[in-house]
């Protein structure tokens, strides 16, 4: 067939082809000229009095934040404030790309664990000149310290997150104070009804393992903060402890996903869940549960200390309106806005005054997390921390779920991290 096709006379193209070729070339030139114009045209400068805020909040949290933004906007009629919700998945990329190019927001909200990376790359404005003591005094000291990198303060705390112990009031009348007590309760429940499990959390995640790691006297970094402490015997002991609960005491369901944890807890087939404030949303419409601080590790007598995560409000170093933007930051982290975020947004706000309110004093949920927050370890905000998660997850997975020897698995993780650091 093809042979025939080749014999077409070339002349038949002539009249038509030149038209198309010209047309296409015209398009090309047009495109090129458009591109040229786009380059030369002065980039439309945003009006001086516009403040843009990026966040990844949803639902009520978002509404509460936007109420705070609107309130500030009402006090500053000459300023146009705009809050943009960016999907969490795209947030880090978007900030990391837009801010250096000068397309970023004036102010943005994110967890403090990214702070070191952003500060190192010069994306964030240090607040040392802008803030003063009266601003910082509103917040618990540890939430402010979490936002310090090097010797600069880079953000104001909006809210905090940490793990605590959720318990089913129908199965457990009072929360246990020690791990031994917890194990006894769980064993008793299981022997009575084998379809009921004792306790669940994401076994393979360092974030969820941290309470036991610190409870056993271990740590991620040594005190000098430069070398890893994960291969210390205390860390290995914490892994063995969890494995014993899973395999010997059999109080932890063997394969746990967060969706399954929620479902079991709602069905009263799970006595305890280690989770954070976000778990409350999963329990909407479900009653008969309580929250308590995590227990004391019986083997060491030390409390299980989870990581403390702080949601910070950061100032773009390239913002043309730093004073004004900082004014918005102070307002949004202020007690008045915090009260809205606490009551209608359900956030655990980082403002001391809120927890002293009479209404909040009676709020067991808030008080349990506030108490737990005092027994936490701030999540490291150094960029190096980002390299820790995956290797440690592998170690946890190997030692707790797949039966590897804890000390060996941890040593392997530390070696892996060291190899990457070289």
């Amino acid at each position: 067939m093809n042979r025939v096709g080749h014999r077409r006379p070339a002349a038949s193209f002539e009249p038509w082809s030149s038209v198309v070729v010209r047309g296409l070339l015209a398009c090309l030139l047009l495109l090129a000229s458009v591109a040229l114009c786009a380059c030369n045209a002065p980039t439309a400068a945003a009006p001086d009095d516009e403040i843009v805020l990026w966040h990844a909040y949803r639902g009520e949290e978002r509404a509460a934040l936007e109420a705070g933004v609107a309130a500030w906007g009402a006090r500053h009629p000459q300023v146009r404030v705009r809050a943009l919700a960016v999907p969490y998945d795209a947030f880090v990329d978007k900030v990391s790309l837009a801010v250096p190019k000068g397309n970023g927001p004036d102010v943005f909200i994110f967890g403090h664990d990214r702070l070191g990376d952003w500060a190192q790359r010069g994306l964030l404005e240090p607040l040392g000149f802008l803030a003063d003591e009266s601003v910082l005094d509103r917040h618990p000291r540890e939430t402010v310290e979490a936002l310090v990198y090097g010797d600069e303060l880079y953000g104001l705390p909006l809210a905090f997150k940490c793990l605590a112990l959720y318990y089913d009031k129908a199965l457990v009348p009072a929360p246990p104070v020690t791990t031994d007590e917890l194990e006894q309760v769980a064993r008793a429940l299981r022997s009575r009804n084998p379809s009921v499990w004792g306790i669940a959390w994401e076994l393979e995640s360092l974030y969820f393992h941290a309470p036991w790691l610190y409870g056993f006297g271990g740590a991620v970094y040594r005190d000098d903060a430069d070398t890893l402490a994960l291969d210390a015997p205390e860390a290995a002991r914490s892994l063995a402890f969890v494995r014993a609960w899973r395999d010997d005491a059999r109080i932890i369901p063997p394969e746990v996903t967060s969706a399954l944890t929620t479902a079991l807890f709602r069905r009263h087939e799970l006595a305890f869940v280690v989770s954070g404030p976000w778990f409350r949303a999963e329990l909407s419409g479900h009653d008969g549960w309580g929250v308590a601080p995590l227990p004391v590790v019986s083997a060491t007598g030390q409390p299980a200390r989870p990581f403390l995560g702080v949601e910070g409000l950061f100032l773009n170093r390239r913002s043309p309106q730093k004073r004004l933007a900082f004014d918005l930051m102070v307002a949004l982290t202020g007690d008045e806005a915090a009260r809205t975020r606490f009551t209608s947004g359900g956030q655990l706000v980082a403002n001391q005054a809120i927890y002293e309110d009479a209404g909040v004093r009676a709020d067991a949920f808030a008080q349990a997390f506030r108490a737990q927050a005092a027994r936490t370890v701030p999540l490291s905000n150094r960029p190096h921390m980002r390299r820790i998660w995956t290797p440690v997850k592998d170690a946890l997975s190997a030692a707790i779920v797949h039966g590897a020897e804890p000390a060996g698995a941890l040593r392997k993780a530390v070696e892996e991290i060291a190899r990457v650091d070289r």
Partner: protein
Amino acid sequence: MLATVVAVALGTFVFHRYAAERGDAIGRARAEQAARWLLTHGPAGVDDLRRSGTVRLAGVAFDAPPPGSRYPYLRRPIWLAHTEPGKVEAALSRDDPAEKAAADALVQDELVRLPDGGYRAAAGERLGGGERRAAFVELAPPPRVEVPWPGLAMAMLAALVFWWDLARREPASRSRPVVGALTVSVGVLGLLAPRLLAVDRLEVPASVGSADVTGTAMLLAGVVLAPLALVAGAGWRHGSRPSPHRVAYAYIGPALLGLGVLVLVPFLYGVALAFTRASHGEVVWVGLSNFVDILSSAGRSLTEPLSFYFTLVVTLLWTLANVVLHTGIGLGLALILKEPTLRFKGVYRVLLIIPWAVPSYITALVWKGMFNQQYGLVNHLLAGVGVAPVAWFSEFWTAFTANVVTNTWLGFPFMMVVSLGALQSIPSDLYEAASVDGASKWQQFRHITMPLLRPALVPAIILGSVWTFNMFNIIYLVSGGQPNHSTDILITQAYRFAFEQDRYGYAAAYSVLIFFILVIWSFFTQRFTRSEEA
């Protein structure tokens, strides 16, 4: 003529970008340099600058934590010197408006470009004990570099005359268009070069403008694309009559141009990134060390799950299993559903593309739930036929199977649709003739369907295999690499390095290796496409 215009437009475009970026880099660098100089010279330097008049504004400040502060990271500036009279104040109270203004200046005076094109830079140094000294400088805008339009037109004219002359003398020469295009581009470049050099002569410190990987990639792409455009443009003027090829080029031109820009730049960026490593917020050139590290499987034995070679084998298995299943199921369904007389075929077709239509993020997680050891539907069904519950994600083969099953479910509708389309290329009278001749269904399939389907289906299979090779989200969501990363494929590893550990250079090196593996693979598949084209 047209080729020349295109070439000039492209050249000018590149020049414009270059001049603008370079000019900006220079302005910033000079402001930064001045600020640093001022920092070391202190208040005396401010006096010097004021007298010399080389800067618009300058100032030196000293800052320290307020005495007795509970927060050592709080700071207050104290002005030591300023070129603007009245700004120099010392030890002012916090409420003093002058000091507030000074603080404002320091806060605002990062390295910024002013609306009039000038630059402002601030520099700081730590003095120990939480104290710092800072300086800022404001510069007038640097001179602009313009495109020399009249000269450009003259050069074009000269080049054209030369070209035309050449064309007259050697009408039969095949290299004529290339020579013409080259002449024009040399002329243009010759004209632009001094300007570019002039831009560069504005004393740029070596430290500035490095590590802009994207900019480099764009410049490279411009350099690669411009001659391509020239040659393609020259192709149009092949011979005294328009060559038949130019029709073909006109047809494919727009698609390839778009692809060229939007694929080549990211590709070059990725390749450049593969030779770097991020270290303390800086991008450092590390040569081949990422590749060496990966290919030497980084101190692991070759058969260990995290080694490159183990992952490569898993990736190949994964690709093979998926492509076979996608094509088999998709084609089988298409064969059943192509029949015009079958009732409800439209309904079946629409129902069967649902896995493709629903966003896979949620359906993949549904599948993960179905494979749960204790509460999953799969084990429940297995229990129905007397099989003990399987811990799907604790063994390699079961976890791998779970991934493949999920991805088969997600992927067969696409192949079904492609096959349905491809099957329409087979004239139905061939089947009629065959059944008249008494050929069985299988014989019809073997001798009519298969050979005639190939041209339309093989490309989809080849591209499908490439996509499956690079499909990260299913494995990431379903098995998550469990157990111990053994079910990870190359791309999920790369993804982990990039987004879990911020090792972008390392991930880019993985991507480059994946690219080369796929290129090698495509050489094998070329046989298919070639034979089918006869």
